[in-house]
Symmetry: C2
Subunit: 605 residues, 2 copies
């Protein structure tokens, strides 16, 4: 494999000319400020297979390669324009397979954007907002056969997408193919979303993080949502779910999809409900199906489907402390009760499988009955639905549809393991995708933390992807800072789990940072940090001067008490190996005393 970097030959010195993740927000790079990383690409077996990485250049001449989700936006050689969208990286791979074809597609209607026929503005779309990028026609399976990565994997084919993730995860392509074929991993990649850099979700791979964005009836705009998506991926979000519920829902999604380097997930039910003016009982299978096709044609990579909320389970929630807290779950429960009928999602699940298989949309089978409080964790309603999700998973696999399973929610620590163990057993090891879980209810404004605890644990035990929770959970819509805090918190949980699982190579990152810490290479510590900007800012609050970044102490202990300094002195004074130290210790002790017994730097009084 070769690594191609994005630095121009003229400015190729290490550690000074990579791209600053902040610099594309209009904040000028500070002159003379060392930028210690840059975007690079690892080339696979063919020139059009270029896997992005983040190369961190250390001041000791070494470099560390980190997984990178930020897309072309952090590549100074890439020409990006949100009005044009990203380049369709996968297009040639998709067309080369010859199993899909373009077609006219479903016409976009005003109600797709939540413009109601009863509105005074009825029939008019917000044309200013329509995505102006390259014209495109949707694509689907040519003959109704599944065009999914699962179908290919089962046939023994290693697709370019599979090779891409193999390079990204540093495993063999055959491992990727095997895990997908066994249903233990998914590679969400709609044929209508050729812009993505493929990624994989499965317990044998790095734990992934999803960030939710989405405007609501109360607030936010298209621009904000696109910006939140690029912002979330810049900090490490592996996928993004667009949960918009208000106006311009179709158009917002188009902008997000055309500009997203990561798979996009949705909950089609939210949009379907908009089309019936929020009246759950007016939902029909036809309206829902039409919405799924609309979104599949746009390129949505995975869809949350709450098909496990069955009529007989609704009464199981009656005595719960917090009832049904999933929006999709409560909508389906209301529909079931209004009609006293089995869920139309459950009843039509096979037809839905056929649709998803024709675009390679991945199922994310929703946990509509997840617990919304500690009191409701692991109850009968929750596990009844899980058993149905196991049944649906097997049906989806028959149709060659990739499938993952969503999980809770609010769960105290001692009840977390039962969730992943049961899910793995019931759902034949399909990837588990959990929201937290939150380990206590008492800390609104800190639910990124209450849930980060549960997320780390459940990921250690086998959960493949974590849906982030921001500090605004239960209180309001996340802003830019909240999105960043949520993503960073969940990257911590995911990486802590990668370490605990013994994922090959995971600890190299920790080791590199700890080496930098021990050797007082402050700039390297910052550049290796999950959030270099905040780490640098916190350090500079107490010791702002430039020399402090090369100082062999920090503000916690000051120069006299620095334990790292003392440890270094011990190592320097007493040689490298334990045998040497033990052997020579008495002698060294004498020399140490002769040399003035200084383990601290003298400082001015």
């Amino acid at each position: 494999m070769t690594i191609e970097d994005t630095r121009t030959p003229a400015s190729g010195q290490t550690g000074t000319n990579g791209v600053n993740p902040e610099s594309r927000d209009g904040e000028p790079q500070e002159a003379g400020k060392s930028i210690g990383w840059h975007k690079a690409y690892v080339e696979g077996s063919r020139p059009d297979l270029r896997v992005p990485v983040r190369q961190v250049h250390l001041t000791n001449g070494q470099s560390v390669t980190l997984y990178d989700t930020s897309g072309p936006y952090t590549d100074p050689t890439a020409d990006t324009d949100v009005r044009r969208g990203l380049a369709p990286l996968r297009e040639s791979w998709i067309t080369a397979r010859g199993d899909t074809e373009e077609y006219a597609g479903r016409p976009v209607r005003p109600e797709d954007d939540g413009i109601k026929h009863t509105s005074p503005r009825g029939g008019l779309r917000n044309l200013d907002a329509v995505f102006p990028g390259r014209p495109r026609q949707p694509r689907r399976s040519r003959d109704g056969q599944a065009v999914t990565q699962l179908a290919y994997a089962r046939r023994g084919e290693i697709t370019p997408e599979m090779e891409f993730v193999a390079v990204r995860e540093n495993v063999s392509p055959e491992v990727v193919r095997e895990e997908i074929a066994a249903g233990r991993a998914v590679l969400p990649a709609n044929v209508n979303h050729p812009e993505i850099e493929p990624m994989i979700i499965g317990k044998r791979f790095l734990v992934k993080v999803n960030a939710n964005i989405g405007n609501s009836a109360v607030t936010s705009s298209i621009e904000e949502e696109v910006e939140k998506m690029t912002w979330a991926t810049r900090w490490g979000a592996d996928t993004v779910m667009d949960l918009s519920t208000g106006r311009n829902i179709h158009t917002t999604r188009e902008w997000v999809l055309r500009n997203s380097p990561v798979p996009i997930g949705t909950v089609p039910l939210y949009q379907a409900l908009e089309k019936v003016d929020g009246r759950a009982e007016e939902l029909t299978w036809e309206i829902y199906k039409d919405t799924v096709i609309e979104q599949a044609e746009q390129g949505v990579d995975y869809m949350t489907v709450h098909a496990g909320v069955r009529l007989p389970y609704v009464p199981l929630t009656a005595n719960r402390k917090t009832g049904i807290v999933s929006r999709g779950g409560s909508i389906m429960a209301a529909w079931c009760l209004a009609h006293h009928k089995e869920s139309f999602l459950y009843e039509n699940f096979e037809e839905l499988c056929e649709i998803l298989a024709a675009y390679d949309v991945t199922y994310s089978l929703g946990d509509g009955l997840r617990p919304g409080s500690i009191a409701d964790a692991n109850d009968e309603a929750q596990f009844a639905e899980l058993r149905t999700l196991g049944e649906l998973n097997r049906i989806a696999k028959r149709f060659n549809v990739q499938t993952m399973i969503e999980g809770p929610g609010h769960v105290p620590m001692h009840k977390i393991k039962e969730n992943i163990d049961l899910q793995q057993e019931i759902c034949d090891e399909a990837p588990f995708y959990t929201l937290g879980p939150l380990t206590t209810d008492v800390a609104p404004a800190y639910d990124h933390i209450t849930s980060g605890i549960g997320a780390a644990m459940i990921a250690w035990w086998g959960t493949a992807m974590l849906c982030y929770v921001t500090p605004k959970e239960h209180l309001g819509l996340p802003n830019r800072d909240d999105v960043k805090t949520g993503v960073i918190t969940y990257k911590i949980a995911a990486h802590a789990a990668d370490l605990a699982k013994g994922h090959p190579g995971a600890q190299e990152w920790d080791d590199a940072l700890s080496d930098a810490r021990f050797e007082f290479r402050w700039e390297d510590q910052f550049n290796l940090a999950l959030d270099p900007d905040t780490a640098r800012e916190f350090h500079d609050e107490t010791l702002p001067a430039e020399p402090a970044k090369t100082a062999h102490f920090c503000s916690m202990c000051g120069p006299k008490f620095c334990s790292m300094k003392i440890s270094q002195d011990i190592r320097r004074e007493h040689g490298g190996s334990r045998a040497e130290i033990e052997e020579g210790m008495a002698q060294k002790s004498k020399e140490f005393a002769d040399a003035g017994n200084r383990v601290y730097l003298p400082i001015a009084d």
Copy 2:
């Protein structure tokens, strides 16, 4: 038991006249703003045994009683003055025992405040800073016998301190006595710190949180440290460690102790090192002992003693990634190497026990060789020291000295349980007191979170007290906001562990908050939150108007998609119990349809 509240009869209506935790910072209470809690006291078997609690008044007329660490500062009927110090609550209990006596005490010397004889200002103390409060003489054991809660508990005596914590923890006094007698819990309460509200640290009780404060050579002042202490306890810190290392170290501690309602811990080694101008090799047992006595006379409740860092263990750290990261550990290692002698703390441990027993200072046996990186976790150096701590624990118990054991550090999740299991086995179930552990090294600026994850887990498995980590760990000194963030994060970890351990009553708090959430009682949610101010602020960012706080929806979903609302409708429409629901569902379904099938509030388009 009776509950005595702090509200005056004239303004006794619920939820409007408790004390606002913010209001004592000079921020005026907003007129008309509902303050939903107040300080109250639960009286024990005698009138001078008044256990503080936080009574949260709900808008539905109920109230919730929460553990309270904030001291008299949140009691509007208490007359507090930091220049005078808190009232000596325990004084009559201590004197009534008749086993201690006042004595002249050790004279305070300039070097106690870090004023060096070689300094131009040598010999002058900062007299302006000297604590002006009531004159006091130190007190110690009358006859050299142990005056410790452990000695009393072993003799079968239930002290007022034990009864106080029994009320606080809602257990019987006999349970408290048994746990202390068995060495499974400590009740840190120096006879010279009569101001504290007693608390207990042990795995059968609520998990406790310690907050570190302390000026350093680089920054901060006496006033800041006292303010940080009261601020930390206001948000829930159960103990505070004063880790000051700079000037005015004695005087700062005096101010902190006289104003602290919680036990204060220190690391005497830091001050001893100041007395020898930072030259570790010049430390002697005499200087150390003098410092311990100085601090015991002031009233320090527990002391970290790094007596487990033995000479033969130092070479075990030579090949570590990050050497010795404990300040105390590295100082002792440097001393051992400089002299090529066994640690003077280890050698003189029995004499140290006699001193601590005479004041009831609790040991916190320091883990000087704790791992400072993921790579170094659970290594030979760490566990060699732990075995020595087990040996020292047994010696301390012979002298009737209460003892807890400090733990790491940086530990990946899969290696955490071994730490607590080994510690409990080796140290005869003495309380474990851990710093985190941090579950990854890669997130400087977020180490409250990397460590909050490990803290919650290790507490679930039996750790009795958690030492907080702030966002500034590894980067700088925590400011006021960092202290609050650290305490709140660790209260989350502690409470999550209480839930997971099934601590009686722990879940009532979550249940009350979840009930409020389900019923859209926003003010109750805020008032029950660990941090009401931030919860309210986050909510108001999106929906600031007062009516939004009674709205039956929130900004996440808006009025149409609210799952809580739908769940409520389901419950209302379909009766309470599952049998009723199942029986009547078909009929109800018809009525529901007849009534217009409205599960959402109609809203303006």
